[in-house]
């Protein structure tokens, strides 16, 4: 399924960069650039999820939100720099699904998007990743090749998930560590090496050799 995310944000830089981030995470995006009659534009685009700023040039986000709610139940995430409780309360009363304050962590924003999408449109994501005959199962936390499988720890699973997602490209150690931190696994450089070593050991036990390649001074790649 191609998930369409609509960005309603008046700052052009944020709009563009947010699109880049989301597209980098395999979402389709569109953005409102003309702020007259936003609700009508939303109706035409009919997105799966909406990121909505509160302070906008013409109608404010709250008005737009209640407008959208009259025809669509797509999840709406309020993204705003006003972090008063009144705003938060308002956004929830008017049918917003989440409230994120600027400057947000993209990791948290992406997690929020993913969980809202999962709730609103269940069973759209495959929970299995496969690359070169090796498949990773996220539910059971196992990795499988040629009928043999082995269990991974939480850290190892996350590392493998990241490598699978970026299969074919080089993942730098810094990126990997940051990704783990975003998932609340506070792994340092040494621990990363230890974890990679352990994964390799486990892989070799099920007969997979040289699956994770080390690129000297750059990082890892599948």
């Amino acid at each position: 399924m191609n998930t369409e995310i609509l960005i309603i944000e008046d700052d052009p830089v944020i709009r563009k960069e947010l699109q880049t981030v989301l597209e980098g995470n395999k979402y389709h995006t569109s953005a409102i650039e003309d702020f007259s009659d936003v609700t009508e534009q939303v109706r035409k685009i009919n997105p799966h999820l909406i990121l909505l700023d509160i302070k906008l040039p013409q109608e404010n986000g709250f008005t737009i939100c209640s407008g959208i709610r009259s025809f669509s139940q797509a999840p709406i995430i309020f993204v705003t720099s006003c972090n008063t409780d009144m705003d938060e309360l308002n956004s929830i009363m008017l049918g917003g699904d989440a409230f994120i304050t600027k400057p947000y962590h993209t990791a948290i924003l992406l997690a929020k998007i993913a969980s809202l999408l999962k709730r609103a449109y269940p069973d759209t994501q495959s929970r299995h990743l496969t690359y070169q005959g090796v498949s990773l199962s996220l539910e059971t936390g196992t990795i499988e090749a040629e009928g043999k499988q082995t269990e991974l720890t939480k850290n190892e699973l996350k590392i493998m998930y990241y490598l699978f997602e970026h299969a074919g490209t080089i993942c730098t150690r810094a990126d990997l560590i940051e990704y783990l931190w975003d998932n609340q696994l506070y792994v340092d450089d040494n621990a990363l090496s230890v974890n990679i070593g352990r994964i390799r050991e486990k892989l070799s036990k099920i007969g997979v050799k040289d699956f994770i390649k080390t690129k000297h001074r750059q990082g890892y790649t599948l």
């Binding site: 700052d11 944020i14 960069e17 947010l18 981030v21 962590h105 993209t106 560590i177 931190w181 340092d188």
Partner: protein, 337 residues
């Protein structure tokens, strides 16, 4: 009212009375009265005078004492002139008018200052919200172009954001009544958020993080708590030694939940420890590291007080432990259970 002063005030009256007595006595003697009858008149005169003066003294004293007591009982004493009963004496009336004038002008002044403060605070809040847009834009730009250079930029942006948050909470800490919402929050959710706020700072200082995950929940405001934890994390990094370690763990004791933030830093010397929550206090560590402002912990303490969270510090050779304590609300648990 001072008795001595009262009688002193009456000296002219006495003098006039004495003069009058002398004149009357001379006159009465000349018209042929004997000394005895004059003496009777003078004694009665003196007694009447003394009686009236003593009576008025007590009456006035009672009245004034009542006013003093009223003023003492008043919380905002500058509003006293509104409470005073209408004066009876001519002189009192003038003073009363003066008092009214003075307090009216002061109330106007206070009103102006309060209004200006309010406006300034609103401006600050608005400014902070506006500055967050470019911060967000810069953050996104950096995230979309990840390289060592932008990672350092990110650390600086975290810092920028932290300072703006500090200003925001400083402004808010004075008018907090309306700006927090208490709800059930999982302590470690907030810890993770605070860590995420300082991700680049922690990563670049190679801080080893240990989080002893627990499912404990408390009733508090997550935004405020996150801000407090941010300050504690920054301090831990600022006053760290080689191979910094930051350890988060919780403990339940009696009807309190404790959250410990432990570092292996340079510690706080015993003399400074009791004063770290004072505004502007930087202590020995501040002099060593140069960039202490004495605001962070002061704000933490203030916000904690408002939220009803206990905050304490333990420090020694091996580092500092900051302890936040939350009261377990049995009532809420009973209602929910």
């Amino acid at each position: 009212m001072n008795g001595k002063q009262y009688w002193k005030d009456k000296i002219p009256l006495f003098l006039i009375n004495i003069v009058c007595m002398v004149l009357l006595s001379v006159f009465l003697l000349f018209v042929g009265n004997n000394a005895d009858s004059i003496a009777v008149i003078l004694i009665i005169w003196t007694m009447l005078l003394a009686g009236v003066l003593t009576f008025t003294y007590h009456q006035r004293k009672r009245r004034l004492n009542k006013l003093v007591k009223m003023a003492e009982g008043l919380e905002e004493k500058y509003l006293l002139s509104e409470m005073l009963p209408e004066p009876e004496h001519a002189e009192e009336q003038v003073y009363f008018q003066l008092l009214k004038m003075a307090s009216k002008s002061m109330l106007e002044q206070i009103g102006t200052v309060a209004r200006e403060r309010q406006e300034y605070r609103e401006y600050i809040e608005q400014w902070i919200h506006e500055i967050k847009t470019p911060i967000t834009a810069m953050k996104l730009l950096c995230e979309n172009h990840k390289e060592p250079f932008t990672r350092e930029m990110m650390r600086e942006l975290e810092k920028t954001n932290r300072f703006t948050e500090q200003a925001l909470y400083y402004a808010r800490s004075e008018y907090t009544e309306k700006d927090y919402s208490v709800q059930e929050i999982r302590l470690f959710d907030v810890v993770h958020q605070a860590i995420a706020d300082n991700k680049y700072l922690l990563l670049q200082n190679q801080v080893a993080l240990e989080t002893e995950e627990s499912e404990l929940t408390v009733y508090s405001d997550d935004k405020w708590l996150r801000f407090i934890l941010d300050q504690l994390i920054v301090n831990a990094v600022k006053y760290s030694r080689e191979h910094p370690v930051l350890h988060f763990y919780t403990k339940v004791q009696g009807d309190q939940i404790f959250l410990f933030v432990e570092d292996h830093g340079i510690g706080i010397c015993a003399n400074d420890l009791p004063r770290i929550f004072e505004k502007g206090f930087t202590g020995k560590n501040g002099r060593i590291r140069q960039n202490a402002t004495g605001i962070g912990l002061y704000l933490c303490k203030r916000l904690c007080d408002k939220l009803g969270i206990g905050i304490a510090a333990q420090s020694g050779e091996t580092g500092t432990t900051m302890i936040l304590s939350f009261q377990i609300n049995h009532f809420i648990h009973q209602v929910q259970g």
